[in-house]
Protein backbone atom coordinates (compact mmCIF):
# COMPACT_ATOMS: atom_id res chain seq x y z
CA UNK A 1 0.00 0.00 0.00
CA UNK A 2 1.73 3.12 1.23
CA UNK A 3 5.40 2.45 1.03
CA UNK A 4 7.14 5.72 0.11
CA UNK A 5 9.62 6.67 2.80
CA UNK A 6 9.08 10.40 2.44
CA UNK A 7 5.36 9.93 2.44
CA UNK A 8 5.64 8.01 5.70
CA UNK A 9 7.95 10.57 7.26
CA UNK A 10 5.62 13.37 6.26
CA UNK A 11 2.63 11.51 7.63
CA UNK A 12 4.50 10.82 10.88
CA UNK A 13 5.56 14.44 11.30
CA UNK A 14 2.09 15.77 10.67
CA UNK A 15 0.67 13.14 13.00
CA UNK A 16 2.74 14.71 15.77
CA UNK A 17 0.82 18.00 15.54
CA UNK A 18 -1.69 17.16 18.31
CA UNK A 19 1.13 16.11 20.64
CA UNK A 20 3.23 19.20 19.88
CA UNK A 21 0.24 21.55 20.26
CA UNK A 22 -0.58 20.10 23.64
CA UNK A 23 3.08 20.18 24.71
CA UNK A 24 3.27 23.87 23.74
CA UNK A 25 0.09 24.59 25.69
CA UNK A 26 1.46 22.82 28.78
CA UNK A 27 4.64 24.91 28.65
CA UNK A 28 2.82 28.17 27.92
CA UNK A 29 0.39 27.65 30.78
CA UNK A 30 3.35 27.68 33.19
CA UNK A 31 4.49 31.13 32.04
CA UNK A 32 3.60 33.89 34.50
CA UNK A 33 1.03 36.31 33.09
CA UNK A 34 1.37 38.84 35.92
CA UNK A 35 -2.24 39.90 35.47
CA UNK A 36 -3.44 40.85 38.93
CA UNK A 37 -6.59 38.75 38.51
CA UNK A 38 -4.61 35.66 37.55
CA UNK A 39 -2.37 35.60 40.58
CA UNK A 40 -4.64 33.15 42.36
CA UNK A 41 -6.38 31.41 39.51
CA UNK A 42 -4.95 29.55 36.57
CA UNK A 43 -6.91 28.11 33.66
CA UNK A 44 -6.49 24.43 32.85
CA UNK A 45 -5.34 25.02 29.27
CA UNK A 46 -4.07 21.47 28.82
CA UNK A 47 -7.58 20.20 29.48
CA UNK A 48 -8.81 22.16 26.47
CA UNK A 49 -6.20 20.55 24.22
CA UNK A 50 -6.87 17.04 25.52
CA UNK A 51 -10.64 17.50 25.13
CA UNK A 52 -10.27 18.80 21.60
CA UNK A 53 -7.91 16.10 20.35
CA UNK A 54 -9.79 13.31 22.11
CA UNK A 55 -12.93 14.25 20.21
CA UNK A 56 -11.28 14.55 16.83
CA UNK A 57 -8.07 12.49 16.91
CA UNK A 58 -7.76 10.24 19.98
CA UNK A 59 -5.38 8.05 17.97
CA UNK A 60 -2.80 10.83 17.69
CA UNK A 61 -2.92 12.13 21.26
CA UNK A 62 -2.87 8.72 22.85
CA UNK A 63 -3.10 7.83 26.51
CA UNK A 64 0.68 7.44 26.91
CA UNK A 65 1.25 10.99 25.66
CA UNK A 66 -1.47 12.21 28.02
CA UNK A 67 0.25 10.49 30.96
CA UNK A 68 3.57 12.15 30.09
CA UNK A 69 2.10 15.59 29.38
CA UNK A 70 0.22 15.55 32.66
CA UNK A 71 3.36 14.60 34.56
CA UNK A 72 5.29 17.35 32.75
CA UNK A 73 2.69 19.94 33.74
CA UNK A 74 2.84 18.84 37.38
CA UNK A 75 6.62 19.05 37.33
CA UNK A 76 6.56 22.56 35.85
CA UNK A 77 3.94 23.93 38.20
CA UNK A 78 5.27 22.16 41.29
CA UNK A 79 2.07 20.21 41.94
CA UNK A 80 2.21 16.64 43.26
CA UNK A 81 3.17 14.56 40.22
CA UNK A 82 0.41 12.40 38.77
CA UNK A 83 -2.64 14.53 39.54
CA UNK A 84 -2.86 16.17 36.14
CA UNK A 85 -2.09 12.86 34.38
CA UNK A 86 -4.89 11.18 36.32
CA UNK A 87 -7.44 13.91 35.61
CA UNK A 88 -6.54 14.16 31.92
CA UNK A 89 -6.71 10.38 31.52
CA UNK A 90 -10.17 10.37 33.12
CA UNK A 91 -11.14 13.12 30.68
CA UNK A 92 -9.91 10.95 27.84
CA UNK A 93 -11.97 8.01 29.11
CA UNK A 94 -15.17 10.04 29.33
CA UNK A 95 -14.74 11.97 26.11
CA UNK A 96 -13.54 9.11 23.90
CA UNK A 97 -16.70 7.17 24.68
CA UNK A 98 -18.88 10.10 23.65
CA UNK A 99 -16.77 11.53 20.86
CA UNK A 100 -18.96 10.41 17.98
CA UNK A 101 -21.82 12.33 19.54
CA UNK A 102 -19.84 15.54 19.04
CA UNK A 103 -18.86 14.87 15.43
CA UNK A 104 -20.68 17.20 13.06
CA UNK A 105 -22.35 19.01 15.95
CA UNK A 106 -22.32 22.80 16.24
CA UNK A 107 -19.60 24.51 18.20
CA UNK A 108 -22.08 25.37 20.94
CA UNK A 109 -22.75 21.69 21.61
CA UNK A 110 -19.03 20.90 21.81
CA UNK A 111 -18.50 23.85 24.14
CA UNK A 112 -21.39 22.74 26.32
CA UNK A 113 -19.79 19.29 26.52
CA UNK A 114 -16.54 20.93 27.52
CA UNK A 115 -18.27 22.83 30.34
CA UNK A 116 -19.49 19.55 31.83
CA UNK A 117 -16.09 17.90 31.45
CA UNK A 118 -14.23 20.90 32.86
CA UNK A 119 -16.58 21.02 35.84
CA UNK A 120 -16.02 17.34 36.53
CA UNK A 121 -12.26 17.78 36.23
CA UNK A 122 -12.22 20.77 38.58
CA UNK A 123 -14.17 18.81 41.21
CA UNK A 124 -11.96 15.71 40.89
CA UNK A 125 -8.77 17.80 40.99
CA UNK A 126 -9.97 19.63 44.07
CA UNK A 127 -10.88 16.40 45.85
CA UNK A 128 -7.49 14.82 45.08
CA UNK A 129 -5.66 17.90 46.35
CA UNK A 130 -7.71 17.91 49.54
CA UNK A 131 -7.00 14.20 50.07
CA UNK A 132 -3.28 14.57 49.39
CA UNK A 133 -2.97 17.66 51.56
CA UNK A 134 -5.03 16.17 54.35
CA UNK A 135 -6.76 19.48 54.95
CA UNK A 136 -9.60 21.54 53.55
CA UNK A 137 -8.67 23.84 50.67
CA UNK A 138 -10.79 26.86 49.79
CA UNK A 139 -12.40 25.85 46.47
CA UNK A 140 -13.04 29.40 45.26
CA UNK A 141 -9.71 29.57 43.42
CA UNK A 142 -10.59 26.36 41.60
CA UNK A 143 -14.05 27.74 40.78
CA UNK A 144 -12.62 30.88 39.19
CA UNK A 145 -10.05 28.76 37.38
CA UNK A 146 -12.91 26.66 36.00
CA UNK A 147 -14.77 29.74 34.74
CA UNK A 148 -11.64 31.05 33.08
CA UNK A 149 -10.97 27.66 31.48
CA UNK A 150 -14.49 27.59 30.04
CA UNK A 151 -14.14 31.16 28.74
CA UNK A 152 -10.82 30.35 27.10
CA UNK A 153 -12.16 27.28 25.29
CA UNK A 154 -13.51 29.09 22.17
CA UNK A 155 -10.31 31.02 21.29
CA UNK A 156 -8.01 28.10 22.03
CA UNK A 157 -10.24 25.63 20.17
CA UNK A 158 -10.17 28.00 17.18
CA UNK A 159 -6.36 27.90 17.22
CA UNK A 160 -6.37 24.12 17.58
CA UNK A 161 -8.75 23.73 14.65
CA UNK A 162 -6.24 25.67 12.54
CA UNK A 163 -3.53 23.24 13.61
CA UNK A 164 -5.96 20.40 12.90
CA UNK A 165 -5.79 21.23 9.18
CA UNK A 166 -2.16 20.09 9.09
CA UNK A 167 -3.05 16.71 10.54
CA UNK A 168 -3.46 13.94 7.92
CA UNK A 169 -6.97 12.51 7.71
CA UNK A 170 -7.59 9.09 9.15
CA UNK A 171 -9.27 6.72 6.74
CA UNK A 172 -11.03 4.58 9.33
CA UNK A 173 -12.27 7.60 11.22
CA UNK A 174 -15.12 9.99 10.71
Amino acid sequence: MRTGLFYKMDLFARGLVPLLCTLAIVVISAVPTRLPMLSLIAPALSLIAVYYWTIYRPDLLNTFYILLLGALQDMLTGAPIGITSFVLLLTYLVVVSQRRFFHGKSFGVVWWGFMLVAFGCAVVTWIIHVLLAGQFIDPSGAAFGLLLTIMLYPPLAALLSQAHKAVPAQDSDA
Binding site: A79, I81, Y92, L93, V96, R100, A142
Partner: protein, 294 residues
Protein backbone atom coordinates in the same frame (compact mmCIF):
# COMPACT_ATOMS: atom_id res chain seq x y z
CA UNK B 1 -16.37 1.61 30.93
CA UNK B 2 -19.93 0.64 30.16
CA UNK B 3 -20.12 3.53 27.74
CA UNK B 4 -17.27 2.18 25.66
CA UNK B 5 -19.14 -0.99 24.85
CA UNK B 6 -21.87 1.15 23.27
CA UNK B 7 -20.27 1.39 19.87
CA UNK B 8 -19.68 -2.10 18.47
CA UNK B 9 -18.82 -0.50 15.11
CA UNK B 10 -15.69 1.01 16.65
CA UNK B 11 -14.56 -2.33 17.90
CA UNK B 12 -15.20 -4.14 14.65
CA UNK B 13 -13.15 -1.49 12.88
CA UNK B 14 -10.10 -2.00 15.06
CA UNK B 15 -10.71 -4.87 17.47
CA UNK B 16 -7.15 -5.55 18.60
CA UNK B 17 -6.17 -1.96 19.03
CA UNK B 18 -9.15 -1.22 21.21
CA UNK B 19 -8.53 -4.20 23.49
CA UNK B 20 -4.84 -3.36 23.79
CA UNK B 21 -5.67 0.30 24.34
CA UNK B 22 -7.97 -0.61 27.19
CA UNK B 23 -5.26 -2.52 29.00
CA UNK B 24 -2.77 0.26 28.34
CA UNK B 25 -5.25 2.84 29.54
CA UNK B 26 -5.71 1.06 32.86
CA UNK B 27 -1.94 0.69 33.12
CA UNK B 28 -1.39 4.41 32.58
CA UNK B 29 -4.19 5.41 34.94
CA UNK B 30 -2.63 3.11 37.52
CA UNK B 31 0.76 4.73 36.91
CA UNK B 32 -0.71 8.15 37.53
CA UNK B 33 -2.17 6.96 40.83
CA UNK B 34 1.15 5.29 41.73
CA UNK B 35 3.00 8.56 41.03
CA UNK B 36 0.64 10.43 43.37
CA UNK B 37 1.01 7.83 46.12
CA UNK B 38 4.82 7.69 45.85
CA UNK B 39 5.00 11.50 45.82
CA UNK B 40 2.76 11.60 48.87
CA UNK B 41 4.74 9.09 50.91
CA UNK B 42 8.21 10.22 49.81
CA UNK B 43 8.17 13.88 48.75
CA UNK B 44 11.86 13.74 47.81
CA UNK B 45 11.34 10.87 45.33
CA UNK B 46 10.85 13.03 42.26
CA UNK B 47 12.91 15.99 43.28
CA UNK B 48 15.75 15.32 40.88
CA UNK B 49 13.45 14.53 37.99
CA UNK B 50 11.55 17.70 38.72
CA UNK B 51 14.58 19.96 38.80
CA UNK B 52 15.95 18.34 35.63
CA UNK B 53 12.69 19.04 33.84
CA UNK B 54 12.58 22.64 35.05
CA UNK B 55 16.24 23.08 34.03
CA UNK B 56 15.39 22.04 30.49
CA UNK B 57 12.26 24.19 30.41
CA UNK B 58 13.86 27.23 32.05
CA UNK B 59 15.35 28.84 28.90
CA UNK B 60 12.08 28.32 27.02
CA UNK B 61 9.98 29.79 29.83
CA UNK B 62 12.47 32.65 30.20
CA UNK B 63 12.07 33.52 26.52
CA UNK B 64 8.28 33.26 26.71
CA UNK B 65 8.08 35.43 29.83
CA UNK B 66 10.00 38.34 28.30
CA UNK B 67 7.34 39.67 25.90
CA UNK B 68 4.81 39.46 28.73
CA UNK B 69 7.13 41.53 30.92
CA UNK B 70 7.63 44.04 28.10
CA UNK B 71 3.87 44.40 27.64
CA UNK B 72 3.46 44.90 31.37
CA UNK B 73 6.10 47.61 31.42
CA UNK B 74 4.26 49.42 28.65
CA UNK B 75 0.99 49.26 30.55
CA UNK B 76 2.75 50.47 33.70
CA UNK B 77 4.26 53.39 31.81
CA UNK B 78 0.94 54.46 30.35
CA UNK B 79 -0.60 54.11 33.77
CA UNK B 80 2.16 56.16 35.38
CA UNK B 81 1.76 58.87 32.75
CA UNK B 82 -1.98 59.11 33.37
CA UNK B 83 -1.54 59.41 37.13
CA UNK B 84 1.47 61.71 37.07
CA UNK B 85 -0.16 64.65 38.80
CA UNK B 86 -1.65 62.71 41.71
CA UNK B 87 1.47 60.61 42.06
CA UNK B 88 3.61 63.71 42.25
CA UNK B 89 1.55 65.23 45.04
CA UNK B 90 1.51 61.94 46.93
CA UNK B 91 5.24 61.44 46.54
CA UNK B 92 5.99 64.96 47.83
CA UNK B 93 4.08 64.17 50.99
CA UNK B 94 5.82 60.86 51.31
CA UNK B 95 9.26 62.42 50.91
CA UNK B 96 8.47 64.85 53.70
CA UNK B 97 7.34 62.05 55.97
CA UNK B 98 10.30 59.84 55.10
CA UNK B 99 12.78 62.65 55.74
CA UNK B 100 11.59 62.70 59.32
CA UNK B 101 12.05 58.96 59.48
CA UNK B 102 15.48 59.30 58.00
CA UNK B 103 16.51 61.64 60.79
CA UNK B 104 15.18 59.18 63.35
CA UNK B 105 16.95 56.28 61.64
CA UNK B 106 20.29 58.14 61.57
CA UNK B 107 20.07 58.81 65.26
CA UNK B 108 19.19 55.20 65.97
CA UNK B 109 21.99 53.96 63.74
CA UNK B 110 24.55 55.97 65.66
CA UNK B 111 23.09 54.83 68.95
CA UNK B 112 23.08 51.23 67.74
CA UNK B 113 26.69 51.41 66.63
CA UNK B 114 27.74 52.79 70.00
CA UNK B 115 25.88 50.07 71.85
CA UNK B 116 27.29 47.36 69.60
CA UNK B 117 30.76 48.63 70.38
CA UNK B 118 29.95 48.37 74.05
CA UNK B 119 28.73 44.78 73.71
CA UNK B 120 31.28 43.54 71.15
CA UNK B 121 28.14 42.31 69.35
CA UNK B 122 28.55 39.70 66.58
CA UNK B 123 25.79 40.03 64.06
CA UNK B 124 24.54 37.09 61.96
CA UNK B 125 23.86 38.90 58.77
CA UNK B 126 22.72 38.16 55.33
CA UNK B 127 25.79 37.02 53.47
CA UNK B 128 24.84 37.63 49.86
CA UNK B 129 22.02 38.06 47.40
CA UNK B 130 21.07 36.31 44.21
CA UNK B 131 18.45 37.98 42.04
CA UNK B 132 16.28 35.82 39.80
CA UNK B 133 13.64 36.52 37.20
CA UNK B 134 10.25 34.87 37.63
CA UNK B 135 9.77 32.58 34.64
CA UNK B 136 6.98 30.32 35.84
CA UNK B 137 4.15 30.01 38.31
CA UNK B 138 2.34 27.27 40.13
CA UNK B 139 -1.21 26.21 39.50
CA UNK B 140 -4.46 26.73 41.36
CA UNK B 141 -3.35 24.50 44.21
CA UNK B 142 0.33 25.36 44.27
CA UNK B 143 1.59 28.78 45.27
CA UNK B 144 5.10 28.78 43.88
CA UNK B 145 7.34 30.71 41.52
CA UNK B 146 9.92 29.30 39.15
CA UNK B 147 13.08 31.40 38.89
CA UNK B 148 15.75 31.43 36.19
CA UNK B 149 18.61 31.05 38.67
CA UNK B 150 19.88 27.78 40.11
CA UNK B 151 22.78 26.15 41.89
CA UNK B 152 25.26 27.47 39.32
CA UNK B 153 24.27 31.00 40.39
CA UNK B 154 24.62 30.21 44.07
CA UNK B 155 21.02 29.40 44.91
CA UNK B 156 20.66 26.96 47.81
CA UNK B 157 17.67 25.21 49.28
CA UNK B 158 16.14 27.12 52.16
CA UNK B 159 17.27 30.57 51.04
CA UNK B 160 14.86 33.36 51.84
CA UNK B 161 13.00 34.98 48.93
CA UNK B 162 12.05 38.65 49.17
CA UNK B 163 10.86 41.47 46.96
CA UNK B 164 11.16 45.15 47.71
CA UNK B 165 7.95 44.93 49.74
CA UNK B 166 8.91 42.04 51.98
CA UNK B 167 9.12 38.30 52.41
CA UNK B 168 7.49 36.15 49.74
CA UNK B 169 8.75 32.66 50.53
CA UNK B 170 11.75 30.40 50.49
CA UNK B 171 13.61 28.21 48.04
CA UNK B 172 12.20 24.70 47.99
CA UNK B 173 13.80 23.15 44.94
CA UNK B 174 17.06 23.92 43.18
CA UNK B 175 18.15 22.78 39.75
CA UNK B 176 21.29 23.82 37.94
CA UNK B 177 19.77 26.89 36.32
CA UNK B 178 16.30 27.02 37.79
CA UNK B 179 14.81 27.04 41.24
CA UNK B 180 11.38 27.06 42.79
CA UNK B 181 10.25 29.37 45.54
CA UNK B 182 7.46 28.13 47.79
CA UNK B 183 5.34 31.20 48.52
CA UNK B 184 4.15 32.01 52.03
CA UNK B 185 0.57 31.56 50.81
CA UNK B 186 1.13 27.90 49.83
CA UNK B 187 -0.50 25.09 51.80
CA UNK B 188 2.90 23.75 52.83
CA UNK B 189 4.38 27.03 54.02
CA UNK B 190 4.98 27.48 57.76
CA UNK B 191 6.91 30.54 58.86
CA UNK B 192 7.85 31.61 62.38
CA UNK B 193 6.72 35.21 62.79
CA UNK B 194 6.27 37.77 65.51
CA UNK B 195 3.80 40.63 65.89
CA UNK B 196 6.09 43.63 65.72
CA UNK B 197 4.49 45.78 68.38
CA UNK B 198 3.58 43.13 70.96
CA UNK B 199 6.42 40.65 70.22
CA UNK B 200 3.83 37.85 70.34
CA UNK B 201 5.13 34.80 68.50
CA UNK B 202 3.13 32.68 66.07
CA UNK B 203 3.42 30.60 62.95
CA UNK B 204 2.21 31.97 59.65
CA UNK B 205 0.55 29.08 57.84
CA UNK B 206 -0.39 29.31 54.16
CA UNK B 207 -3.69 27.80 53.07
CA UNK B 208 -3.73 28.59 49.35
CA UNK B 209 -5.69 31.80 49.84
CA UNK B 210 -4.17 35.26 49.43
CA UNK B 211 -4.22 35.81 53.19
CA UNK B 212 -2.35 33.18 55.26
CA UNK B 213 -3.42 32.36 58.82
CA UNK B 214 -1.61 32.94 62.08
CA UNK B 215 -1.57 29.75 64.12
CA UNK B 216 -0.14 28.57 67.42
CA UNK B 217 -0.17 32.11 68.73
CA UNK B 218 0.46 32.35 72.46
CA UNK B 219 -2.34 34.81 73.14
CA UNK B 220 -4.58 35.38 70.17
CA UNK B 221 -6.73 37.91 71.95
CA UNK B 222 -4.24 40.76 71.92
CA UNK B 223 -3.70 40.67 68.18
CA UNK B 224 -5.26 43.70 66.54
CA UNK B 225 -6.08 44.70 63.00
CA UNK B 226 -3.31 46.51 61.18
CA UNK B 227 -0.47 45.26 63.34
CA UNK B 228 2.73 44.55 61.45
CA UNK B 229 3.95 40.98 61.22
CA UNK B 230 7.66 40.29 60.75
CA UNK B 231 9.82 37.15 60.69
CA UNK B 232 10.90 36.07 64.15
CA UNK B 233 14.17 34.35 63.33
CA UNK B 234 13.14 31.44 65.54
CA UNK B 235 14.79 28.19 64.46
CA UNK B 236 17.25 30.35 62.53
CA UNK B 237 15.27 29.75 59.35
CA UNK B 238 14.79 33.43 58.59
CA UNK B 239 16.65 36.59 59.39
CA UNK B 240 14.63 38.29 62.16
CA UNK B 241 12.62 41.39 61.35
CA UNK B 242 11.87 40.86 57.66
CA UNK B 243 8.53 42.50 56.90
CA UNK B 244 5.86 39.89 56.12
CA UNK B 245 2.48 41.63 56.21
CA UNK B 246 -0.23 43.23 58.31
CA UNK B 247 -3.00 41.60 60.31
CA UNK B 248 -6.00 41.91 58.02
CA UNK B 249 -8.74 40.11 59.92
CA UNK B 250 -9.31 38.85 63.44
CA UNK B 251 -12.45 36.82 64.00
CA UNK B 252 -13.77 33.40 64.96
CA UNK B 253 -12.17 31.89 61.88
CA UNK B 254 -8.77 32.96 63.11
CA UNK B 255 -6.28 35.66 62.41
CA UNK B 256 -5.29 36.38 58.86
CA UNK B 257 -2.34 38.33 57.53
CA UNK B 258 -2.27 40.26 54.27
CA UNK B 259 1.28 39.86 52.97
CA UNK B 260 3.09 42.98 51.80
CA UNK B 261 4.59 41.27 48.80
CA UNK B 262 1.98 39.01 47.23
CA UNK B 263 -0.58 41.60 46.23
CA UNK B 264 1.11 41.82 42.86
CA UNK B 265 3.08 39.32 40.87
CA UNK B 266 6.78 39.96 41.20
CA UNK B 267 8.99 40.05 38.14
CA UNK B 268 12.27 39.86 40.02
CA UNK B 269 12.88 38.05 43.29
CA UNK B 270 15.88 38.39 45.55
CA UNK B 271 17.19 35.30 47.29
CA UNK B 272 19.18 35.86 50.47
CA UNK B 273 21.77 33.55 51.89
CA UNK B 274 21.23 33.80 55.61
CA UNK B 275 24.20 33.01 57.79
CA UNK B 276 22.73 30.31 59.98
CA UNK B 277 21.90 27.25 57.94
CA UNK B 278 21.67 25.01 60.96
CA UNK B 279 18.30 23.36 60.70
CA UNK B 280 17.79 23.95 57.03
CA UNK B 281 19.61 20.93 55.69
CA UNK B 282 18.19 18.94 52.81
CA UNK B 283 14.62 18.03 53.35
CA UNK B 284 13.77 20.86 55.71
CA UNK B 285 11.89 22.57 52.93
CA UNK B 286 10.45 20.51 50.16
CA UNK B 287 7.42 20.16 48.03
CA UNK B 288 4.86 17.58 48.83
CA UNK B 289 3.94 17.25 52.43
CA UNK B 290 6.80 18.69 54.36
CA UNK B 291 4.70 19.47 57.38
CA UNK B 292 3.62 15.88 57.83
CA UNK B 293 6.88 14.21 56.86
CA UNK B 294 8.94 16.11 59.39
Amino acid sequence: MAKRAKGPEIRTAQPLRTAAQRILFLLFLGSAVALMVIGRTDPAAFERARSQVTDVAAPILDTLARPIDAANHLVDRIDAFANMYQDNARLRQEVERLQQWQAVARNLEIENAQMRDLLAFQRQDVERFVTGRVIGTGGIFVRALLLNVGSQDGVRKGQVAVTGAGLIGRVAEVGRRSSRVLLITDLNSRIPVVIESSRARAILAGDNTAVPRLIYGAANSDVKLGQRVVTSGDAAAFPPGLPVGVVSSVDDNGIRVMPYATSERPELVRLMEYGLDGILGDGAVSFGRMSQSD
